[in-house]
Symmetry: C2
DNA sequence: TATTGTTATACTCTATAACTATA
DNA sequence: TATAGTTATAGAGTATAACAATA
């Protein structure tokens, strides 16, 4: 049960950290997926999509959902189709652009998501119960630095790609 | 590009932390997967399996791999089959138990894994370059507490299950 | 021509359960 | 009976690319 064995012989601290990070995230995520399936008969991507919509009551366009969920457009179509079939989200027409939709939660969807979110929050609070408020805060800040590095890296790569494609 | 929007209205600190943790892990993991595919035409689970074997030169049995990789046995069979086809691992007979195999890296597999591990390490070091050695250490320790919570939780659930099944 | 979204396809990974062979 | 491993199946998740409609 120990993925941390993935490090190889040289074992610098960053690698050790990453392997533990991955193990922890997988343990929590696996638990969340299982509970979502058992208690609400749903999946993490569906939960994610609904969460995005809850934060944007006016709805989001497909390409906005795609960007925020970090998956390609075709997948968003599939997940949205499932949620529409369940009656928890709906596609609304966009004034002035007949190609686009705004996807938003239905009344029923908002209610259903609320129940899930309450449970979800409890699972997460339990997962981090060993940390003091101060530790949670410093953990959060450390992650902020990592996140920024990744985003810088990403835009650099994108910039290079643009440059190459434009050249 | 911000999965952290997944939190809902109440937003306690633990939830905020979890969403950022998930975002960071996904960003790094996605990058690792892409690089493994582009540069080595392989996948993360295959890399993981080889990493387990590198740490155990004498080889590991299928059920040991299953436990360490946190996936079920059938999957290990499939991943192992692929690696055998690529000639990087081999199944060895176990003395005294004709049901079991020891899976281990071939010479070619050790060499191939070495190249991947070197690159992999560089990607990871880059991902955490914004953190000082002290920060890396404290990050690692914080994760240790989370990991322990998850493992305790897991064994508690297992214990309950045993109890129910035995009763 | 470019953009929005959908469809079609294929592949990897996953869990579950039935199965074979051996202990 | 229990254990080691395989096979079969189904489903989730993903990326890619071709496509239709609209801008």
């Amino acid at each position: 049960m120990d993925m941390e064995a993935r490090g190889h012989s040289e074992h610098p601290e960053a690698l050790r950290l990453w392997l533990r990070l991955l193990t922890c995230t997988q343990l929590v995520e696996k638990q969340v997926r299982t509970q979502l399936r058992e208690q609400f008969d749903t999946t993490l991507p569906r939960f994610d999509l609904m969460a995005q919509l809850e934060r944007n009551p006016e709805g989001l366009k497909m390409n906005e959902l795609s960007r925020r969920m970090m998956v390609t457009g075709g997948n968003v179509t599939g997940i949205t189709d499932q949620l529409v079939a369940e009656g928890v989200v709906e596609r609304m027409e966009v004034d002035g652009d007949r190609r686009a939709y705004r996807v938003r939660l239905t009344t029923r969807g908002r209610k259903f998501f609320g129940e899930m979110a309450r449970q979800h929050e409890a699972w997460i609070v339990a997962a981090f119960e060993a940390l003091s408020p101060r530790e949670v805060e410093s953990f959060y800040k450390l992650l902020g630095k990592v996140k920024q590095t990744q985003q810088t890296l990403k835009s650099t790569v994108a910039g290079l790609t643009d440059k190459l494609e434009t050249a």
